[in-house]
Amino acid sequence: MNVDQLYETLSQIPKTDLAMWQDVFLKFYRAWFAEDRWLNYFEGLVTTIEVTIIALIIGVVLGVLVAMIRTAHDQQRPGTHNFVLGFLNGISQVYVTIIRGTPMMVQLMIWGFVIFATSRNFTLVGALGLGVNSGAYVAEIIRGGLMSLDPGQMEAGRSLGLNYIQTMRFIVIPQAFKAILPSLGNEFIVLLKDTSLISVIAGKEIVYAARAIGARTYEYMFPFVITAIMYLIMVLIFSWLQGKLERRLRRSDRR
């Protein structure tokens, strides 16, 4: 007997006469198999992954840019003051302060209902909001990594006649990258999970699909458990990849 036949049989029985497992089965069937609903989750999953990737790119680009500006500003030769750098540094500080000082969901609502109120492309607006949010955190993580490196490394590079950019590129950034990889990975996991918030501005990702299915079947347990499992699997895959990368970068630490 396949699941469809089992469902047909069981759904004839009055609810009060159902055994526990039969009741659970019916709920699961409605949340997954009925009307090919499992497709809705996977459509949501695709959106989630798309949003994550777009937001990741925006976040990393913004984060690197802001971290570079702020670090370069702080590491200027004493006495010299570059006006353009000072201006950009000011903007960066305001950006980081606002983003870190306000809730993610409020930011998304401002993006979706105020700034892009007329746009119908909720997914892209959501990705933009998440990316801009992530950028501020990534910037602080990168800046922390650049600052935490022994200043002797920068001094050694400069004393050899390399300029600031060359020293950053060949010496400081590769080492800082290795040091910040765990926190960067953590931030990416947070970002991946935060994509669930774009359902508040009607972005059609997994949570949106799960809520729609729950509303149709009056039963929310399985839609949300399925959603949770999907996120968990994505995070596990990502953590595994991150672990592999970290082990590769640790080659130079071997003794």
Binding site: D150, E155, S159, S252, R255
Partner: protein, 240 residues
């Protein structure tokens, strides 16, 4: 070669170097000694502008390097520096540590730099470590490689900032030997150190810095046998 005029450096209200004037001639081996906190390291770091002097001028080969318009990177390419904590780049193997600067600054092509790296490594007896990473080496080996890294830029002058202070006692000798070799070849050197034996043997002139000023300078023989400044006498009686 280097002319230091009225060099003053203060961190906030704390004056570290107070109006130092010195001249370093080509081929000289100037050894700088003094108690900790006396400003001797700061003096050395001012010479290649790792520390920005608060006032005064430093002229290297006729160029005032304290002038903000001077290309400081071009100046630094001609001065090698060796640090107390080696500061090798842990993300690169030894060969890349040595060849990075010569190649990136356009001084030489990659294969030429590698050749020079191997030749220099042979001289310090570490050619077999070319593919190793810094974390795999002992302190003495790291410092010898740091010296090689500076030499690969073919500097006119070498600055040593307490090169043996972070080493186990048994490794001090191997680093000092490399420095002696270098001195014998006629390299101009400024060395901040606590190794009095090295100062006496290799130095052509010794400076005693205390309280941000050069309290006494003399040839090694005079410096150690007839110290005049009471603070120097006190210092030498403690360290010798």
């Amino acid at each position: 070669m280097i002319d230091v005029k009225n060099l003053t450096k203060s961190f906030g209200s704390h004056v570290v170097l107070n109006n130092i004037s010195q001249h370093i001639y080509p081929g000289e081996k100037v050894v700088v000694i003094g108690p900790s906190g006396s400003g001797k390291s700061t003096f050395l770091r001012c010479l290649n502008l790792l520390e920005e002097p608060t006032s005064g001028t430093i002229t290297f080969d006729g160029v005032d390097i304290t002038d903000p318009k001077v290309d400081i990177n071009a100046v630094r390419r001609q001065m090698g520096m060796v640090f107390q904590h080696f500061n090798l780049f842990p993300n690169m193997n030894i060969c890349d540590n040595i060849t990075l600067a010569p190649v990136q600054t356009g001084l030489m092509k990659k294969d030429e730099a590698v050749e020079i790296a191997h030749a220099l490594l042979k001289r310090v007896g570490l050619d077999d470590k070319a593919d190793a990473y810094p974390a795999q080496l002992s302190g003495g080996q790291k410092q010898r490689i740091a010296i090689v890294r500076a030499l690969a830029m073919k500097p006119k002058l070498m600055l040593f900032d307490e090169p043996t202070s972070a080493l186990d006692p048994e490794m001090v000798g191997e680093v000092l030997n490399v420095m002696k070799q270098l001195a014998d070849e006629g390299m101009t050197m400024v060395v901040v150190t606590h190794e009095m034996g090295f100062a006496r043997e290799v130095g052509s002139r010794i400076l005693f810095i205390d309280g941000g000023q050069v309290q006494e300078e003399n040839s090694p023989e005079e410096f150690f046998s007839h110290p005049k400044n009471p603070r120097l006498q006190d210092f030498l009686s403690k360290v010798l």
